[in-house]
């Protein structure tokens, strides 16, 4: 079987955030051996996040956990116990990457900071991904996805002007921080191949989200204009045919960029839509009546035939039956001993030589024996003792 691009890389993941877990998922998907550490008993708090089958919470059935931890191995270790530091060091000695997302300073407090670990393993790349990074006045702020959304400015660019700023659905900021942490990890690994030594990567979700602001901070420098949320109208576009729109149709919504002159008449057969002094309201009304007589699939297909950027706005239920997703194998069936067989989103990108891996998420402590006994050579007696003391 062909191996993933990172199949020689070993990662120790100690994370509880979506950003940390998504970083680990990207590395695991590319074939790295990712061993995730969870707290004995409780496990990763993300195991408590829905959805659950039948809405019945179960540690092994969290939809978010199953999605974020594909392809990883799972072990338990309670870092709050004294004996755990030695074990953590044993684990860190044998890996290329330690990935962690604890509150800054916490690992140092446990005697497990980068300095200590790099003395044991000079080739170690340690990636710390936190809300704001390891330094600065925001470092110790208490945050959730909502907080970083607000502070980053991205929230002020989302939503409509007449209402409150809007967070996008889900954990978009954390996912963005996760991919940046994965890029950061790769930059550390690439540097290691040149220098022979590892380093500490200090990644910030907040700064990752600032990338999403796009150009407004740079335009501001020259125009003095503070761009604000504009609903579905794309802000900051000064060419009329690039204005983004989202309008309802008979069976849902379509999204498009206002097409170049002449194209709307071609699309609808209505010449009034091309009149230069047509107000935005009149335009919406005329166009809306045409849209409301048609389905989104038909409108998107007709628009695309004319080479104008029209798309239907699918809901999640429609996505799993989407013909393009089907043709490209976006979803794959993953069998899980407790949660059952479930269709998961598969590869975020396709690599021709090194296939993406979407294997099921680990059960809590599933690989304790394999990692502690087979790899670290702890004796069975030791394992029993560690278990009795609830260290693992």
């Amino acid at each position: 079987m062909r191996q993933g691009a990172l199949s020689t890389i070993k990662v120790l993941e100690a994370t509880t955030s979506v950003a940390g877990a998504y970083c680990g998922k990207l590395l695991a998907g590319c074939g790295a051996e990712v061993v995730k550490i969870e707290k004995p008993g409780a496990g990763d708090p993300i195991r408590g996040y829905g959805p659950f089958p039948g809405d019945a919470p179960h540690q092994e059935k969290s939809g978010l956990f199953l999605h974020l931890n594909t392809g990883k191995k799972g072990i338990t270790l309670d870092l709050q116990t004294q004996a755990s530091a030695t074990i953590f060091k044993d684990l860190a000695r044998n890996v290329d990457v330690v990935l962690e997302d604890f509150q800054p300073g916490l690992l140092e407090g446990l005697g497990l900071g980068y300095e200590t670990l790099s003395n044991l393993n000079p080739r170690l790349v340690m990636t710390s991904v936190t809300s704001f990074g390891q330094t600065g006045p925001y470092r110790d702020l208490k945050t959730t996805e909502l907080t970083t959304f607000a502070l980053s400015g991205y929230m002020d660019l989302t939503g409509t002007p007449d209402r409150e700023p809007l967070k996008t659905w889900g954990f978009l900021g954390n996912y963005t921080g996760g991919v940046c942490a994965a890029l950061g990890t790769m930059s550390g690994l690439e540097a290691r191949d040149l220098t022979g030594i590892g380093q500490h990567i200090d990644a910030s979700v907040f700064e990752s989200m600032l990338i999403l602001l796009g150009m407004p901070p740079f335009e501001y420098k020259y125009s003095g204009e503070v761009q604000k949320r504009a609903g579905n109208d794309a802000p900051g576009t000064d060419v009329s045919h690039m204005v983004s729109k989202l309008l309802p149709c008979r069976n849902g919504y379509v999204q498009f960029h206002t097409p170049p002159p002449g194209m709307l008449q071609l699309l609808t057969g209505d010449p009034r839509l091309e009149e230069p002094d047509l107000s935005r309201e009149e335009y919406d009304k005329l166009f809306l009546s045409w849209l409301m007589e048609r389905d989104k699939e038909e409108i998107a297909a007709r628009g695309q035939e004319l080479r104008i950027a029209f798309v239907e706005v699918p809901d999640p239920g429609e996505l799993v039956r989407d013909p393009q997703h089907e043709a490209r194998g976006m979803f794959c069936e993953v069998d899980h001993p407790v949660a059952g067989s479930l269709s998961h989103p598969g590869a975020p990108f396709l690599m021709s030589e090194t296939p993406w891996k979407t294997e099921r998420a680990p059960l809590l402590g599933e690989h304790n024996e394999q990692v502690y006994r087979d790899e670290l050579k702890y004796s069975s007696d030791q394992l029993v003792r560690l278990r009795q003391l609830a260290i693992i």
């Binding site: 829905g50 999605h67 809007l166 996008t168 540097a191 200090d202 990338i211 950027a309 999640p316």
Partner: protein, 419 residues
Amino acid sequence: MGILPLQGTRVLDLGTYIAAPIATQTMADLGAEVIKIESPQADFLREIGGPLAPLREGAEHDRHYNRRPWFNELNRGKFGMVLDLTNPAGVEAFKDLVQISDVVIENYSPRVMENFGLQYPALRQVRADIIMVSVSAFGATGPQRYRMGFGPNIDAASGLTYLTGYANGPPIKPGNYFSDFFAGLHAGFATLAALNHRRRTGRGQHIDLSMREVDTMILGDALMDVAMNERVQTRIGNGHPSMAPHGCYRCQGNDQWVTIAVGADEEWRRLVKTMGSPKWADSPFFSTKVKRWENRDELDSYVSEWTRGQDRDEVMASLQRAGIAAGAVHDIEEIVDNPQIRHRGYFSLVEHPEIGPAPIRNLPWTLSSTPVSVQAPSPTFAQQNDLVFRELLGFNSQAIETLYSERATTAVPLQPKQA
């Protein structure tokens, strides 16, 4: 300057707009030699990329297309050259470059590289271990591969827009061009993984990245809900599936807001105390986490009443002191001048020949032993044409002249539009 992670790596960047340029921007920051190859008509962002930066005093040239803030932020640290890939001599020169490069990245619609005759199999014949990265809206295969889409189209087509919006309202797209940035970052990650693999095995490959599929990663839990419960989730505004209060609350002043997120009972007690223990908070409607969530609309109106007359930053500070996740909604101006950002040196200036000091953004992570910082501005149009032809490809003056006379390259954009 010390060792940089990607030094010695050469990248040919056919990217336009945002997605591929974000990937190559990261690679340039990390020390790769990125050669941005523009068409004779120039990258579109040289025309629409925001208000013109003023011309530097004493600048040699006054060329508006070199002074667009979008273009200049996205392409800092890259070399710039021009090749017409519809011209056989341009294609030949491009193939010469492929021979001495590690990565080719492009974000055209899939039919464009086909028309150039420069798909992966063709590039592979030129250089067997080339890594080619194709970023497209819907992917390089499948019945919708030729569909057109720009950032907001992709966010809509991915399902992200459907799920974003106020409760009971229509879908609302994420701010600006989310998928361009998210896809570009993933393209960068995939490229670095492919480089790592090639160093070990000697094998290159083709990366086929659909912007829409990358967006799908964010929908993981909603898609699992479909798989588990056949349930189609919908818009919940700033709400949360189990936390309350969890929202954005108006404060004193024009368009001033603070977000507050409270989950466990302990956090709730601290919130109540910070609000001065108002009577309404004793109501049995708010006595447990579940009840607070069930009665969240009423709870929100009480919290709003508390925040409304107060200074946004003071609300945030007092709640943070109490250990509650509260955050002010910053606007762009406040981000440009923000204490955390200043402390981390996130924005900096690079000297641009026609603008003077130009603002750029640094990487959202720091590296302890091989620190990187942006060293060079974005290229002016065709700036490194002759450097590439002469130094990298070893063309003589006559050969270079022929490229210009045959219009395989140019020093000024063809059909320049007015600013």
